[in-house]
């Protein structure tokens, strides 16, 4: 059971790597934005995996002494709420820029754009 308690972290690592690989190796701007958001959500998984307490419940006082006994840690949740919003903000901005790039260059593949820029 010792190593199974690490499964969350292994999945987080896998997602991190998938996201990073997508951003580095893929050519298409929208695909890279999707990879970026996968990369960021891997970090969310890291933080939220930390907050679980065995036998605990969500950190809300319900007045029921059984569920109020042990709580999961509320602090990582607060941090990740912020991070989720930051992530969507970046994605939205990236999409807007991509739309404009498509209008100006006619393509959203980085190699095409680089060729056009080198010629100018």
């Amino acid at each position: 059971m010792n190593l199974l308690g690490l499964y969350n972290y292994w999945v987080y690592l896998f997602l991190l790597l998938v996201g990073m690989y997508t951003v580095f190796a893929k050519n298409n701007y929208v695909k890279r934005l999707i990879g970026l958001s996968i990369f960021q959500s891997a970090v969310f998984l890291l933080f939220i995996s930390m907050d679980k307490v065995a036998g605990g419940t969500g950190p809300i006082f319900t007045g029921n002494p059984v569920t109020d006994a042990v709580f999961a840690n509320p602090l990582p949740q607060v941090l990740i709420l912020t991070a989720i919003v930051v992530g969507i903000a970046g994605t939205a901005l990236g999409l807007a820029i991509t739309v404009r790039i498509r209008e100006e260059y006619g393509s959203i593949e980085e190699s095409d754009i680089r060729k056009m820029d080198d010629q100018s």
Binding site: V23, V43, M50, L75, T82, V86, G90, E104
Partner: protein, 499 residues
């Protein structure tokens, strides 16, 4: 009851934050958005100076947000370097805004300006928020505030190449911020707190565990990406080249230094003591990268054909100097890096102001198009030349002071120091080459682009800013006491007696 005086630490951040949404909804005609932004920047600058005086007398100023104590709430922790950086940031903002008065209309049409100036204020507020906070996660939040606003400002550039440049900046910046967040996550995992002072205390117990080492690695990686340290610098010359010129002036003066500031905090206050032998490894790696940065950066600057790109790569080199100072690990090194953070802002802001003036009048920033400008715009090019002297490090200029203290710090570490000194002098020579290239084309080549306007000299507002900055370069070159005392007291605070 708290007085206005007590509230100044938080006002320096929240004043521009309050102003930004207001500026965004102002109408696009006339100068109203600019006026609001300038008033907000000016007030912030004054508050920053008053905080600096207070810090010099009383030491680090704490401020409890919501009146919750650390580590349960967020606290501000305004130390000597914080306040120096705050002055740099608000000063750069003010300078950039005055350059915008003359130079922005040509590059960004007035209807788009309210949103641009709103983003401007957000960048300034975000950067000041980073340097004044005492909570590691708060750094991430404000880093994203300033970064997102920066991406928007770059994307507003007049050339279509601003768009891929902004996208690249967005991707690299988000990566950097996320790496930083991962680092904070690992530190939090091992200690349970986010407050910087508390982290430092609790890390002592878990010092040699692997997550802490990895945290240090991720933090440095993320901050290096944000701070354009070689080899993650690729976004910066592009972003500066294609952003509107006044915006580039503002960014070049301050926005890459703030991640370096966070590096100082992380290395010296949080993690550095607890890295053990890996600390030496990290320090060595970063020294190598910073040396490559200032050699390669200067070299590429020599071969670049666009003036803004030359200045962008020159900034890569200057960041190399700063990181070298930081990772020496000595009090002298930290002092030198801090001084250079201030002086470089003065130099680059002046240089970019001159470039903005040239772009306004000729419409181009390519070096070959500058032929003969020296006769048409004598005051501008003279200002450029003098600021260039400061960049090279001629005695009596601010640049000389920075290089002097840096070399002094390097020579302290022994024989390697002599080799590094030679490299620094070499890169200064390379700076001579690329500055001379511009001067030669400007003064000694026949005129290429005819300026249609009757007034061929730069707009008055840009000239005033340019010459104030140039004179400031000489002032701080002759009397660096103010900057020196802040830098030294930071080094003492952070490193104690010696290391």
């Amino acid at each position: 009851m708290m007085s206005l005086y007590d509230q100044l630490p938080i006002l320096v951040i929240t004043l521009p934050l309050l102003a930004a949404p207001v500026v965004a909804v102002l109408p696009g005609r006339g100068k109203l958005p600019w006026l609001f932004a300038t008033i907000a920047s000016a007030l912030t600058f004054l508050i920053a100076i008053s905080l600096a005086c207070r810090v010099m007398e009383n030491g680090t100023i704490p401020y409890l947000l919501g009146n919750w104590e650390a580590p349960y709430g967020i606290v501000l922790s305004i130390g000597p370097l914080s306040v120096l950086m705050a002055i740099v940031i608000s000063g750069a903002s003010l300078a950039g805004l005055f350059v915008s008065l003359g130079g922005m209309d040509k590059e960004v049409p007035p209807p788009h300006q309210p949103l641009l100036y709103a983003c401007w204020l957000l960048v300034m507020a975000g950067l000041i928020g980073i340097v004044t906070t005492g909570d590691a996660f708060n750094v991430f939040v404000f880093m994203e505030v300033s970064s997102l606003a920066s991406y928007v400002m770059v994307a507003n550039g007049p050339n279509r190449q601003a768009l891929p440049a902004s996208f690249k900046y967005l991707v690299t910046g988000t990566f950097g911020a996320t790496f930083y967040l991962i680092g904070v996550g690992y530190l939090y995992m091992m200690t349970g707190t986010l407050n910087m002072a508390d982290l430092s205390a609790r890390l002592a117990d878990v010092a040699d565990t692997m997550p802490v080492l990895i945290a240090g690695g991720f933090l440095m990686l993320g901050l290096g990406m944000k701070g354009a340290l070689f080899p993650m610098h690729a976004w910066m010359p592009n972003a500066y080249q294609f952003a509107p010129s006044p915006v580039a002036a503002f960014f070049a003066a301050c926005s890459t230094k703030v991640p370096l500031f966070v590096m100082v905090r992380v290395l010296y206050e949080i993690v550095g003591h607890h890295l053990g032998s890996y600390g030496e490894l990290l320090s060595g790696m970063m020294m190598t990268l910073s040396v490559i940065a200032f050699i390669v950066g200067s070299l590429i600057a020599i071969y670049s054909e666009d003036l803004k790109r030359v200045l962008g790569y020159s900034s890569v080199a200057q960041i190399g100097y700063m990181v070298l100072g930081i990772c020496l690990g000595t009090s002298a090194g930290l002092t030198a890096a801090s001084i250079h953070m201030f002086n470089h802002a003065l130099m680059k802001a002046a240089l970019f102001a001159a470039v903005a003036a040239v772009v306004v009048r000729t419409g181009s920033s390519k070096i070959e198009d500058l032929a003969g400008i020296g006769k048409k715009m004598p005051l501008t090019m003279l200002g450029f030349a003098l600021a260039g002297l400061s960049l090279i490090g001629v005695p009596l200029t601010a640049g000389f002071i920075s290089k002097w203290y840096l070399i002094k710090a390097i020579l302290e570490i022994g024989p390697l120091g002599i080799f590094l000194t030679i490299l620094i002098l070499l890169s200064s020579l390379m700076a001579v080459v690329y500055i001379w290239k511009v001067i030669e084309v400007a003064y000694f080549k026949p005129t290429k682009i005819e300026i249609p306007d009757a007034r061929t000299e730069a707009p008055v507002s840009i000239l005033i800013v340019l010459w104030i900055l140039v004179l400031a370069n000489f002032w701080f070159g002759i009397d660096p006491e103010f900057v020196l005392s802040l830098a030294r007291s930071e080094a003492v605070d952070v490193l104690g007696v010696s290391k």
